[in-house]
């Protein structure tokens, strides 16, 4: 993207420049972890975290439209961008002065009931504090919404990573009319040339009748609707880096590995000077390879694989295997991590200016669930995966899975895409296997058992979108509420913008401990469509568009 003309836009009333496809968040400040807003209940500073448009860390207002993800939005010339939900500025916290009123946390379930005469006043204040951005202004909406992109193909492929691209190439070679739909603008370097559409598929409903085509609905950022009709579908959306529960895990500077990559302006410009990498597997190795000279230490909740040991020793980065992360401190940005070695229990601190979470890759399974495909709990990975045949057929005829969402491990992604393509060409499947949820415990459950035994006090944020405290989950459990579905409704955990991606996987493990059951018994979190918040305007336009004609 070098050499692209610079574009002028405005941020908080000041002129800025950006070039190429650099998203707003990466062009806002030199350290790229700008504090952009405050959280809703505890007005904690919020900064980019996930880097892939899922979390609540980077919401800004662009030209009168609220809740724009700065990590995804590429500014256009003349854009007016400002921060929201932070008064007088995101870095300056006036609301903190009121904190002493709520030593145990802001109890929206039982609090604010007395005196009854104040009900209206409480409601006005709380209503104003809740909500993210201000309502859209007329300029914020394109009226009418832009016409949607409508395509009709033989095979729709969701996800253009190595697995989706490999599946597409193979199917194309066999004469199928394919379309890869992927959120990123550019194909991976050296990828075979296949038809691509930039967009996010957010809704894949079950077919109305077995012979009918699938309809893939979604949007191309920021607000253009997408509707792709396909006889068969390969779902290969990959995964994302999971979060980890510890005190202060929402401090600015704490990033997922996805976030670190997204906010870096190239390998020599990571969004930190000295980061602690959390994790000891392939993903941690990737982070080390990319940003090695800026990594201060590697801290792993579980064991550390030889590959990480090798890279770290070359870079002379110290390793802390089997270590509990207890607490992050630092005001505007994380400065220090409090750790406890497992077993021995000795506590120690490490200084840093960022923490990169790379300990756990989680599959993106929403579309399988929406389409009615069965999923099963895999204890080893600590996540749900679709039930599949060996050639990637799901339990829904015509729907195939590939890549890490299908459980492929790194290095096997392209091969898993080819297997799915071959399965599709042979019309293999559907899978009939009963979901075989494994009863074993995941290793992370053991991690949390140790971490939470003798957990020091303080505000542990279990859900950063909704500011839900771990204390609240424990209290709900003590009050007799059981199962993830009920705990979610009782506490609000998982009901925010990330749709539970960053809080529910850990909440499930914690609940398994509290309830003395396996995570699979605590429940599957029904993931309601759309898979990613989808603009009303994009959906409205699809709804109005005449039936599509022709192929891509």
């Amino acid at each position: 993207m070098a050499g692209a003309p610079a574009r002028r836009f405005e941020f908080e009333g000041r002129a800025r420049e950006s070039s190429g496809a650099v998203p707003l968040a990466a062009s806002l400040s030199s350290d790229r972890v700008p504090v952009l807003q405050r959280s809703i209940r505890y007005h904690r500073p919020r900064a980019p975290f996930c880097g892939i448009g899922y979390c609540t860390g980077c919401l800004v207002r662009v030209n009168g439209a609220p809740n724009v993800r700065a990590c995804r939005y590429v500014p256009a010339a003349g854009d007016r961008v400002r921060t929201e939900n932070a008064w007088p500025s995101p870095r300056f916290d006036v609301m903190g002065a009121l904190d002493f009123l709520f030593p145990g946390g802001v109890d929206t379930l039982r609090g604010f009931r007395r005196p009854a005469a104040l009900t209206g006043a409480y409601q006005r204040v709380v209503r104003r504090l809740a909500g993210y951005g201000a309502p859209p202004t007329p300029e914020g909406a394109r009226v009418p919404p832009p016409p949607p992109i409508a395509r009709e193909v033989d095979v729709g492929i969701v996800g253009g990573g190595p697995s989706g691209t490999a599946a597409a190439a193979k199917l194309r070679a066999a004469g199928r009319n394919v379309l890869v739909i992927d959120r990123s603008a550019d194909p991976p370097a050296g990828a075979p040339d296949v038809p691509r559409l930039r967009g996010t598929v957010t809704f894949l409903p079950p077919r109305s009748a077995p012979g009918d085509p699938f309809v893939l609905l979604g949007f191309s950022e920021p607000d253009q609707g997408i509707r792709v009709t396909a006889a068969q579908v390969v779902v290969a959306p990959g995964g994302y880096d999971g979060s980890l529960l510890f005190e202060g895990n929402d401090r600015p500077g704490i990033l997922t590995a996805d976030g670190a990559f997204a906010l870096a302006r190239g390998p020599d410009h990571p969004p930190f000077r000295r980061a602690i990498v959390v994790g000891g597997g392939p993903r941690a190795a990737a982070v080390l390879r990319a940003f090695g000279h800026r990594v201060e230490a590697v801290v792993a909740p579980l064991a550390i694989v030889p590959e990480v040991v090798r890279i770290a020793s070359e870079l002379e980065v110290p390793l802390y295997p089997r270590t509990l992360v207890e607490r992050a401190t630092g005001r505007a940005r994380v400065r220090r991590l409090r750790l406890r070695s497992r077993g021995k229990g000795t506590r120690f601190d490490l200084a840093c200016d960022a923490v990169v979470l790379a300990h756990r890759r989680l599959p993106s399974t929403q579309l399988f669930f929406q389409a009615g495909a069965r999923v099963e709990w895999r204890a080893g990975a600590g996540a749900y995966f679709p039930v599949l045949t060996t050639d990637g057929a799901t339990t829904v005829a015509g729907l195939y899975a590939a890549g890490s969402a299908a459980g492929a491990v790194e290095g096997d992604a392209a091969a898993s895409g080819e297997r799915a393509a071959e399965g599709l060409l042979r019309a293999a499947g559907p899978a009939t296997a009963e979901a075989a949820s494994t009863p074993d415990r995941s290793e992370l459950e053991g991690y949390y058992r140790e971490l939470l035994a003798g957990r020091p006090g303080g505000r542990w944020i279990a859900c950063a979108c909704e500011d839900v405290l771990l204390d609240e989950i424990e209290a709900a459990n003590r009050a007799g509420y059981r199962g993830i579905e009920v705990i979610k409704r009782y506490t609000g955990v998982g009901t925010g913008l990330c749709q539970g991606r960053y809080c529910l996987p850990d909440a499930l493990l914690v609940l398994a401990l509290l309830e003395g059951r396996t995570p699979a018994e605590v429940g599957y979190i029904t993931q309601r469509p759309p898979a990613v918040p989808t603009p009303l305007g994009a959906l409205a336009a699809i709804g109005t568009a005449p039936p599509e004609t022709g192929g891509p």
């Binding site: 439209a65 609220p66 809740n67 929206t108 379930l109 039982r110 609090g111 604010f112 009931r113 007395r114 009854a116 009900t119 409601q123 709380v126 209503r127 104003r128 809740a130 909500g131 993210y132 201000a134 309502p135 859209p136 202004t137 007329p138 914020g140 909406a141 394109r142 009226v143 919404p145 809704f203 409903p205 309809v215 609905l217 920021p222 607000d223 009050a479 007799g480 509420y481 059981r482 199962g483 579905e485 009920v486 409704r489 009782y490 913008l497 749709q499 309601r528 469509p529 759309p530 918040p533 989808t534 603009p535 009303l536 305007g537 994009a538 959906l539 409205a540 699809i542 709804g543 109005t544």
Partner: protein, 388 residues
């Protein structure tokens, strides 16, 4: 999960939704004896955990206006009585008319509501625009508005009732399904459940969308039908909209929660019967987005956060079914609440409890009793304002 501790109860309430739990509360408060509430799902898995939280007193019949008005008073006291904050925000209900015929219908509602002492108002387009910022020009010729209507959070009502009844000694068994109802000498004698038989004198059918199914399991055909209704929520934003807005022509309804989300749907049904489960359909998601963006174009950039669906339990005349089934003494109905069971629950369930105890109830039997469906006479009135 929580298994029943006894083999015999005075009352078994089937359904731990707002109707079943509220009924159990009134029964326990009246000292009805050992009470068991059963539900095959988790707490709030039925319509009580899937609705829009709208509470209105604008109706087409006096009978419904009165039940709703009494319920509004109860919900205002809920925080004091049950310890949970419903965030019952009385921002009004605004019905929109697109033409004079619809406005004439609303005028009749307005006259009735006023005659019941509630200060409903007729609004001109300018006042409508003042209440719905950004509404498209010419979208309404007018509307009716009652400021004391509003929206609440359904979940805390369930938590408050659940804790209240348990504190009163009521047992709540979740994950337990009623498979059949046994009779002896024509009277209710026991329920057969997924975990064995439980003796009881009284069964309360508070099974929501599954009420006809439960009645059938008791050998009592019911005219109720389950219809699936879909609903969505957007990303939260700062306060934008005060009232619940309902459009008469197509049943589009939406409001803004305390949290800031726009929550709404289109009242038209998305299918009949409980067999298909509770999916979200593209027809709804796209159609709802289109309707909303046409009415309030500036909402276009707002993201839809989630969509879901649930069952209404509809009756032929639009009134709920409250009272003992004349065909089976001991079998008491508390169902048929359509899309309005939450807003009628406090008042209706008080009568259900009285009926279950064999006491007289101040409801017109021709309007509410299950017996009305057994005679061939035409219903004396029909509640048609089944919107929002």
């Amino acid at each position: 999960m929580s298994a029943p501790s006894r083999s015999r109860y005075r009352v078994v309430v089937v359904g731990a939704g707002v109707i079943g739990l509220y009924t159990a509360h009134h029964l326990a408060a009246a000292g009805a004896g050992p009470i068991l509430v059963v539900d095959r799902g988790f707490l709030s898995s039925g319509a009580s955990g899937r609705n829009g939280g709208g509470v209105r007193q604008q109706w087409e019949t006096r009978a419904t206006v009165r039940l709703a008005r009494e319920s509004v008073a109860a919900y205002r006291r809920f925080g004091r009585d049950f310890g949970y904050n419903l965030w019952f925000r009385q921002g009004g209900y605004l019905f929109l008319a697109e033409n004079d015929r619809e406005l004439a219908r609303l005028r009749a509602v307005h006259d009735l509501v006023r005659s019941e002492g509630l200060p409903s108002e007729i609004l001109d387009p300018a006042r409508v625009a003042g209440l719905v910022p950004g509404i498209a020009a010419g979208a309404a010729v007018g509307g009716t508005y009652l400021a004391s209507d509003g929206v609440l959070y359904p979940f805390p009502a369930i938590w408050g009732l659940y804790e209240d009844v348990r504190a009163r000694g009521v047992e709540v068994a979740l994950g337990l399904e009623v498979l059949g109802v046994d009779a002896r000498d024509g009277r209710v004698a026991a329920v057969r459940t997924s975990r064995g038989r439980i003796e009881t004198e009284i069964v309360v059918n508070a099974a929501g969308g599954w009420s006809a199914d439960l009645a059938q399991r008791a050998g009592l055909p019911s005219p109720n039908t389950a219809t699936r209704h879909e609903i969505l929520a957007t990303e939260p934003m700062k306060p934008f909209l005060d009232p619940m807005v309902v459009r008469v022509s197509d049943g589009l309804y939406f409001s803004q929660t305390m949290r800031g989300e726009i929550v709404g749907g289109v009242t038209g049904t998305n299918g009949t019967g409980v067999e298909g489960g509770m999916p979200t359909s593209p027809r709804f998601l796209l159609g709802m987005a289109r309707a909303l963006v046409r009415l309030v174009p500036r909402l276009a950039p707002l993201g839809v956060l989630r969509a879901w669906s649930g069952f209404y339990d509809d009756t032929p005349d639009g009134f709920p079914v409250i009272g003992e089934d004349p065909r089976r003494p001991g079998f008491v109905h508390a169902n048929g609440f359509g899309g309005h069971g939450f807003m009628l629950a406090p008042a209706a369930s008080r009568r259900v409890a009285r009926a279950a105890m064999g006491e007289t109830v101040d409801l017109d039997p021709a309007t509410f009793s299950p017996a009305r469906f057994l005679s061939s006479e035409r219903p004396p009135s029909v509640e048609r304002l089944q919107l929002g």
